[in-house]
Each structure stands twice: as C-alpha cells, then as structure tokens.
C-alpha cells in the first residue's frame, strides 16, 4: 500500500509534483508510454486524469483489489490501484496485521538488490516512519484486530526462499528451517512476502511516501501450509484493506 501526499495541498497545481523523476530521458521524449498500464501521453491527458490522485494502493490479487475499490468508492473521488496483503507470519497469531517498519531481504538487511545493465545495484528500502505511526494509530481507533509494527522479509520465491519443506526442491532440514525462521524473528521479521522490497525501493527512490500493510495467515514456525478455512482467510485478507480505507477516510476528512 502506497499512500502519497501528491498535490494534497493544491490539487490544481500539477507543477508542484512531489514525485522525484529519476530519468532525464523522459523530458526529451515525444511521448511517455506506461506500457503495463496501456497509457501514453500522446493519447491520454495525465494531469487531467491523475492530477488529483492523493493515494495509490497496490496489491497482489485483482479480485482483492476489486473488492477494495468497491468498498472505497463512496470515500474517494478518484482511486487507482490494488491492495497489499502478505501471507506468512514468523511468530504472532494468524490474522495479525503487520505494518512494515523495514522491508528486509533474506539476510534481514533493509536493501533491495537490482541488476542494472548487468551490474548489481543496492537500493534502500526505507518506508515512511510517519505513515507507520499514523496507520498504527488508525488501527487503535478501529480496534477491530491486533496490529503490530515489524519488519517484513521479502523473498524471491514461495518455497526455498521462505524455508518451506514441501516444495519440489528442498536441500535443508526441518532444523535448518527452524533456525532460519528463528533468526528472522530475532532480526525483527514479523511476516514474509514477495513484493515489499521492490515497492519500498522504487517509492523511496522517487520520493513517494509509502507504507506496506500485510496480514499474517499462518505461523511458519508451526508449518508450511495455510490450513485456515476459506471464510476465515477471506476475513483476514480484508483487514489490511479496512485499515487502509480507514486511514484514507480520515485523511480526506481532514483535507
């Protein structure tokens, strides 16, 4: 979930853009094509379409995002996006909402490694500290579920990267797995997922205020399979959305 303060003070002033554009080529290009969104400046008026956007929410599943947009519709004049929900927990009761303090890699460092033209580049995965505190306060006001602030470990895959024993490949023991997950917990990791690092690194680089809100679905120190009934999981997955909706409503009511 990324909550940006874009143009919050003056929605009409598109030049006062808080996004740091880190590509000098864009200004020289005839058109700016957002390939994955099927949008281009030659066909779409970006300031008219998106100039008043205050919040952008991104998440893992189209159906989850559809439900989120439906719920938010009465709150917002305009919203783009999807909503964010991580899967794993590393200690904690299932259903606990985790507001990410730091998105960490599999060595528990707050770094995102990217390859640019064949060379390794390390980017910081800083998230906005003020947003963390605001979201935590929102959760206390909502008072519907337990919420903690902790680190989110971002892995490259669902099985070996997260220490699962039940994938097609497994070269380590149950003991190795437990030791790894306990080391993660000791390093402040409270949940595991696969998107937070690149999200945090990109937002941080572009100067966007960003937050990550997840919900834990199982205790990985006890197993690898998500065994809760579908309706329970469904309710868990709505929790980050409810918290973010409440946050957005509160922000808009103060604007």
């Amino acid at each position: 979930m990324a909550a940006t303060g874009a143009n919050a003070e003056n929605p009409e002033n598109h030049n006062d853009c808080p996004v740091r554009l880190l590509n000098p080529n864009i200004a020289k290009m005839k058109e700016d094509v957002l390939y994955h969104f099927n949008l281009t400046t030659s066909k779409h008026n970006f300031p008219a379409l998106f100039g008043d956007v205050k919040f952008v929410c991104v998440g893992g599943s189209p159906s989850r995002m559809k439900a989120f947009i439906r719920d938010l519709r009465h709150l917002m004049r305009k919203a783009t996006g999807k909503s964010k929900g991580g899967r794993e927990r590393c200690g904690l009761e299932p259903g606990t909402v985790v507001i990410t303090e730091q998105a960490v890699d599999t060595c528990f460092k707050a770094e995102f490694e990217q390859i640019v033209l064949g060379k390794r580049v390390i980017r910081k995965t800083d998230l906005n500290k003020k947003l963390v505190q605001e979201l935590l306060l929102c959760s206390a006001e909502l008072s519907e579920f337990t919420t903690v602030v902790g680190n989110t470990m971002c892995t490259l895959d669902f099985y070996e990267g997260q220490g699962r024993l039940d994938g097609a490949l497994c070269s380590y023991t149950e003991k190795d797995k437990q030791a790894y997950l306990e080391a993660a917990y000791a390093a402040g990791v409270r949940n595991i997922e696969m998107e937070s690092s690149v999200f945090a690194a990109m937002c941080s680089a572009c100067g966007l205020q960003a937050a990550v809100v997840c919900v834990t679905l199982l205790n990985r120190l006890e197993g690898d399979q998500i065994s809760s009934p579908r309706n329970v999981l469904s309710e868990y997955q709505q929790r980050p959305q409810r918290l973010v909706s409440y946050f957005i409503k509160k922000k808009l009511s103060k604007a």
Copy 2:
C-alpha cells in the same frame, strides 16, 4: 515451453516416473499440496489425473494460453498448461522465433541465482539440446516464419534490467544501453525475457526435458517501445504456439 517425455513409453506405469524428486520430505508427508494449483493428494488422485500427461506447456498470459489450449484440443487427449513467448529481440527481424540454446543471466552466464535460507545458490540453466534440434526441424517443415537458435537473456525487470531508457528510473545513457545490448548480442543473446532461467533451472534440476520458444517483438537496438500494430503482434505471438503445436502433433503421431 516444457516438453516432457514423461511415461511416453508406458502411460500406465506410474512408477517409471522420469521426474527427479529433489525433496525427501514429500515421501514422509501425509499429503502433498500444490498450493498454487489448488491441488492436493488428499483430494485429488494425481496418477489418475495426470499420469498420462506427455507434454506440459507454460506461458506468460492466461488469454494466450486459452487460445493455445483451444487450438491443441483436437490434437491431444489431455493437456495442462500455458505457452511461452518472450518479448524482446537483440538484432534480427521482429517476428523471428527464437528457440533457446541457453537461458543466460544479465552477465550472459547460463546460471540462475536463487536465495535458499538466505544463502546464494547457483543453478545451471541447461535446456535439452535434442529438443532444440527437433523444434528447429519442425520449424523448417512448417516453413511459415524465420526461426533461429540462440541464447535468451532472462532479466529481473522490464526497464533497468533490460537497458530501457523510458522507465521511471534511468541512470545510464543511450550509449551505455547500446554497448550493453551489443555485448549481449556478441554473447549469443537473441532475445530478452523474464522467466526462462528459473524455468530452465527447475526443469533441469528435476530431470525434465525442457525447451523455451519465444518470438521477438521489436529490435531493442532501435528502440524501447513495441510499436507494431496489434494484429501484427497478435500474429507474432501465435508463432511459438504454432511451432510447439506442430511439434506435439508430430510426436503424438509417432507414439
């Protein structure tokens, strides 16, 4: 595209499985849950459902796979899967089909780096040489489009990893980009995509005979945007599917 020879000689003999199972835990588990497929041995009879599968085709888009399955239905008794089509080319006419000789990383090495319990593990990305030659022969027999054998570069992202100048972030010049793509071409790279390495590494580790077939959509030495008309791109994207369909038909007619 993965073409496996699983049980080709004797479809009834499920013990004669050519897949190398690299996880000793599976045999001790009460059930084997394939989480992402929503399948489990406690509810589904895997040998009855999949025991006669000879080919598995995987690819990037559900709609492309739907079209592929529709076209193949009359050819096969049972098929699971999707079909594979990469996007970029690095010299070559757009629309050229590339059969992958080696899936290489962004340093042009035939390796896939994975993180297992926080440690880097390097896996080989060998593809089946016999399949490459068989597919090339099929293309000559089909005689519908140009097909080459070359290396496929697998990147972690669409923009900086592939040397694009038009992303949100860009810290290199047009000259740097050209030098990198030319070095890739000199190393035998004929197209760029984002899935082949993990696919090749996993299949190779499990002893599955695998091939990757892509089609090139633009010349990256000339630009970053895919500008061909939609109907032209659509026809290009069917080419790997037509080649793989022809290959499967030929194999089945000989079985």
